[in-house]
């Protein structure tokens, strides 16, 4: 938690800023946008035989943040991510990465920025079948012309980082799925990217392995503190990993918020449907429910703001009081928790917003 707090504290400028980003597939995407003044309605898009894979997305991603993009399959998650690194050419919109206009870059500049700043992990690993683990991991370094000894040293370091030492000379097909994805992760980190894109990295893995890989991912991120865009269709995974969650529906980013807010204040019915089955008390933090003091500090055991409701449930029930004090980052009881609301959340009763 401490790393996360530190990151939240010194979260600075947005590293990625996109405004009104569109990606439309179909016979004449540009013409369609033009005909509708840059904002065609869903009906108009469908009627003209187009698909809006990304529909008017405006997102800021801060340095060191983990943004998880969620949505059903076909909702445009992958396309959004590929627009952000320009693997897919957006139909319109603006996109700045680290202060530079990504959409204005020519091929050379794009290659340059990918060689120095970006790494991507793929759902089906996308390893090169004819190369050993070592050469796969060293591949991005090789592309930018690093000498063999140097890049192998770095690659070995990465392989150690993801816990695959001893497998350097293996070929991808000789590894299990989880191990292959570790190679994919090592490869994407080899160039020390600032921006780390992960497109459903654990979806192709068995549930147990997936859990293990999530832990691995959190461990790495605690060490490295990258800016991350992470795609998943698994809400539990999103809740475990996210600083913020962006929920997509038919190309549109319908809500982008912290997990607490998504659970407590779903922006649309669609988002609400997503969160319905979730044990909310395990997601929501005390500080999200905390309210200003009504004059004096209530009696009873003080709660940490960054604890989840579920983790303090026993304390709340045993205290048996209407309100409990909540400590802020400096350890002062500056706010209080309405125990009735907390219990309602705990028992899954619907809140009247």
């Amino acid at each position: 938690m401490t790393v996360k707090q530190r990151r939240e504290a010194d979260r600075g400028q947005p590293l990625i800023t996109c405004r009104n980003l569109w990606k439309i597939y179909g016979p004449d995407p540009a013409g369609l946008l033009k005909a509708h003044g840059g904002k065609p309605a869903a009906q108009a898009i469908r009627d003209s035989g187009h698909v809006a894979a990304v529909n008017d997305a405006s997102i800021d991603i801060s340095e060191g943040e983990i943004l998880v993009v969620m949505g059903l399959s076909g909702s445009g998650k992958s396309t959004l991510m590929r627009c952000l690194c320009r693997l897919v050419e957006p139909t319109s919109g603006t996109l700045r990465v680290d202060g530079q206009d990504l959409l204005a870059m020519d091929e050379r500049q794009l290659i340059e920025i990918r060689r120095s700043k970006m790494g991507m992990v793929f759902q089906n690993f996308a390893l090169l079948p004819t190369r050993t683990v070592l050469d796969n991991v060293a591949f991005p370094l090789e592309m930018r012309g690093q000498r063999t000894a140097e890049r192998h040293e770095r690659a070995r370091e990465m392989i150690r980082l993801v816990g695959l030492e001893g497998r350097e000379q293996y070929f991808p097909r000789e590894l299990s799925g989880g191990q292959q994805q570790r190679v994919g992760i090592a490869r994407s980190l080899a160039i020390e990217p600032d921006l780390w894109f992960l497109d459903e990295p654990f979806s192709a893995l068995d549930p147990l392995i997936r859990r293990e890989m999530q832990d691995e991912f959190l461990r790495l991120q605690a060490m490295l503190g990258k800016t991350i865009v992470f795609i998943t269709h698994d809400f539990d995974e999103a809740l475990r990993l996210a600083d913020r969650i962006a929920i997509m529906y038919e190309g549109e980013v319908v809500q982008i918020d912290t997990p607490d807010k998504i659970v407590l204040q779903p922006a649309t019915d669609y988002v609400a449907k997503f969160t319905r089955e979730i044990p909310k008390a395990r997601v929501v933090h005390v500080r999200s429910l905390a309210e200003p003091l009504d004059g004096e500090v209530p009696d009873g055991p003080a709660l940490q703001g960054d604890a989840t409701i579920a983790s303090v449930a026993r304390t709340i029930v045993q205290a048996g009081r209407p309100y409990l004090p909540v400590l802020d980052e400096t350890g002062q009881p500056t706010r209080r928790l309405d125990c009735g609301r907390a219990l309602a959340l705990l028992f899954g009763e619907e809140e009247a917003a």
């Binding site: 693997l87 990918r114 089906n124 690993f125 079948p129 004819t130």
Partner: protein, 657 residues
């Protein structure tokens, strides 16, 4: 889904089946009427009238003349010919010695044999090593060395050319859809052109000799490489390509480090096809003076030395099997990691053993001349053995073969040929268009009509009908024998596998080979030609029947069995309909194989398009040769269109596609 498929298919037939059937009957009626009322038809409907016949051949000749002289293409081809000839000379120098080039003595046969052995070992292991090493030993000991090396050096020059050209074209086509759109029809036509049609332009531009043979071979072998490269590029997982881009690879880096290595298997399958096509073509390129086993075979057949022909045929077959197995082993070879950090000499043991064996072979060659070259006079020969077989068959089988031949000729082939020649042009056009219409509607009807019209307009109608009669008779026999054989073979796992393996092996033999036993049995005539066509064209129908029958899912077998269907009902109502798309592909290939073989069989005297092609070849008539080639291609593409369309529909109806 599959379990429901046959029901839907039957259901569709029941509700919508009457109308197509009526149409078919109507068309058949019209066809019969046209044939029966031939004497009432105006002459223009019986045969294409003279005034519509276009001088296609002259146009093509003029076009090539223009290319050659006015555009100066000849300078380019001459340069290229020099390049090819230089490579051939160096290779010939290495393998055979003498002949200028580097001026080095030839490599001892033992060196080449141990190299073959080690290549087999490195690619797959002991068994392949024994095969490839053994074949070289056989070639050396049985006096076939020189011819085999000539053939191999031609392949060694033309196969890399074809691979490089195919790779480049395939990659370019994958990048540029327009190029692909232009290339695909060209490839279709090229792959339906008979071997001979390639020879004539090559002679015109490159003259005759080994370099011309190599060029013709390379051109002939390029199309499958283009196709496999394109397929491989299309099948690249998009994520892998994206991984290359995200690694900051430039276009060239992506091609070299990501796309080509990832498409490795498809590309190597293409290499296998190139090698086999090269071997098939090299044999035929002997017609334009390419030396080697094919040339010897040609001479032997021309002078009816059947024993020698058989001996040469065996060598070609052995080389075919070796090349096929080795290149397939290369496809399947997947890298395996080194268990531990082993020292250099252990990791490269195969290389070191090879070097050791080569040194040993050189030493042996310097000690005893026979380890250097087995003199032809001293060599063992299987010819007496084959001669004995030939003698025996001529004595023992002469009567039955003779009777069969006479019977076939008199009562089947000649009447059938006369019937085909009797058919009025309009009836044939109607049949083709009608067939197209039944499987693919108006568009297909027009396409089919176009193919017929092309043949008619070139003025080769009667010759084409003779080709058609031979092809259709051969295909009929192939189906009559091949379908039951395939069904029988598919009845058990082991049998199916063995028959498929047999088909695989037979398919690697150059088609020319199949003429040898037929000439032995029937001498030189139509019956021998058709016999060779039948044997060769039987391969695909058997293989696809087996594959189709075995593609029926076992759950469906169980379901139908539970429904109480007996064996015959199962076969007719479930297995055959389900296997039909496969079988149609098989029929398509059988027709193609038959067409190719009929043309090759012209060599032993037929009266069809192939015969005219041979004449065009000896007269260097490029226009006539290409026109005839295109006529053959038209016939092939006509059937191809109908059968592909039909197979596609059946597949869609079965929910397989």
């Amino acid at each position: 889904m599959t379990a429901l498929a046959p029901t839907t298919h039957l259901g569709r037939d029941a509700e919508a089946g009457l109308r197509p059937r009526h149409k078919a009957l109507l068309l058949l009626g019209a066809f019969v009427a046209l044939v029966a009322l031939k004497h009432l038809l105006p002459a223009g409907l019986v045969r294409p009238p003279d005034w519509v016949i276009l001088p296609v051949g002259q146009w093509l000749s003029a076009a090539f003349e223009f290319l050659r002289e006015d555009l100066g293409l000849e300078a380019v081809t001459r340069l290229f010919a020099g390049f090819v000839a230089w490579h051939l000379e160096i290779l010939g120098n290495l393998l055979l010695g003498g002949r200028g080039g580097l001026g080095l003595p030839a490599l001892p046969w033992t060196v080449i044999a141990v190299s073959g052995f080690m290549i087999g070992y490195a690619l797959q292991g002991w068994r392949l090593a024994a095969l490839s090493g053994g074949v070289f030993v056989y070639l050396a000991l049985f006096g076939q060395w020189r011819y085999a090396m000539e053939t191999l050096s031609l392949i060694a020059v033309s196969a890399p050319l074809a691979v490089l050209a195919g790779l480049a074209l395939g990659i370019a086509a994958a990048r540029h859809p327009r190029l692909e759109a232009a290339l695909m029809p060209l490839l279709n036509v090229m792959q339906s052109m008979p071997h001979f049609a390639y020879l004539i332009p090559v002679v015109v531009f490159f003259g005759v000799g080994d370099h011309a043979g190599a060029v013709a071979t390379a051109i002939f072998a390029t199309p499958p490489m283009v196709r496999m490269t394109l397929l491989g590029m299309r099948r690249l997982p998009p994520e892998v390509v994206e991984a290359g881009m995200m690694a900051g690879a430039t276009r060239w880096q992506r091609l070299r480090h990501v796309e080509v290595p990832t498409a490795r298997e498809d590309i190597l399958v293409g290499v296998n096809q190139v090698i086999m096509q090269c071997l098939a073509m090299v044999v035929i390129a002997s017609f334009i003076g390419a030396p080697g086993l094919g040339y010897r075979l040609l001479l032997a057949l021309q002078s009816l030395k059947i024993g020698t022909a058989l001996e040469l045929g065996v060598s070609i077959v052995l080389i075919a099997i070796t090349l096929d197995r080795c290149s397939k082993a290369w496809v399947e070879r997947r890298p395996v990691h080194d268990a531990a950090e082993r020292p250099w000499h252990e990791r490269h043991r195969t290389l070191l053993v090879w070097l050791g064996l080569v040194a040993l072979a050189f030493a042996a060659a310097s000690l005893h001349p026979w380890a250097y070259e087995v003199p032809r006079r001293q060599a063992l020969s299987t010819a007496p053995f084959w001669d004995a077989i030939v003698d025996w068959t001529t004595v023992a089988l002469f009567e039955p073969a003779h009777q069969l031949r006479t019977m076939l000729s008199l009562h089947v082939l000649i009447p059938l040929r006369d019937l085909y020649l009797y058919l009025p042009f309009a009836a044939v056009a109607l049949a083709a268009a009608g067939g197209g219409y039944l499987v693919g509607g108006l568009r297909s009807a027009l396409v089919c009509l176009g193919f017929v019209a092309f043949v008619a307009l070139t003025g080769w109608w009667d010759r084409a009908m003779i080709t058609l009669y031979m092809v259709s008779f051969a295909v009929f026999v192939c189906l009559a024998l091949g379908l039951p054989l395939g069904i029988w073979a598919s009845r058990s796992d082991g049998r199916g596998r063995r028959v498929l393996l047999l088909c695989d092996t037979f398919q690697t033999f150059p088609s020319f080979i199949y003429l040898i036993p037929m000439v032995m049995l029937f001498q030189v005539n139509d019956v021998a030609a058709i016999g060779a066509v039948i044997i060769y064209a039987m391969i695909p129908i058997v293989r696809y029947t087996v594959e189709g029958m075995r593609s029926v899912p076992s759950s469906l077998h169980e379901a139908v069995r539970m429904a109480g269907a007996d064996g015959r009902q199962r076969l007719l109502n479930m297995e055959l309909p389900m296997a039909l798309p496969h079988i149609l592909v098989g029929i398509n290939q059988t027709i193609m194989f038959a067409l190719f073989m009929v043309i090759i069989a012209a060599f032993i005297g037929t009266q069809d398009l192939g015969q005219e092609l041979m004449r065009a070849l000896s007269a260097n008539d490029i226009g006539k040769g290409l026109t005839l080639g295109l006529c053959v291609a038209s016939i092939g593409l006509l059937f191809d269109h109908i059968l592909t369309e039909w197979a596609r529909r059946r597949k869609a109806a079965l929910g397989l596609a």
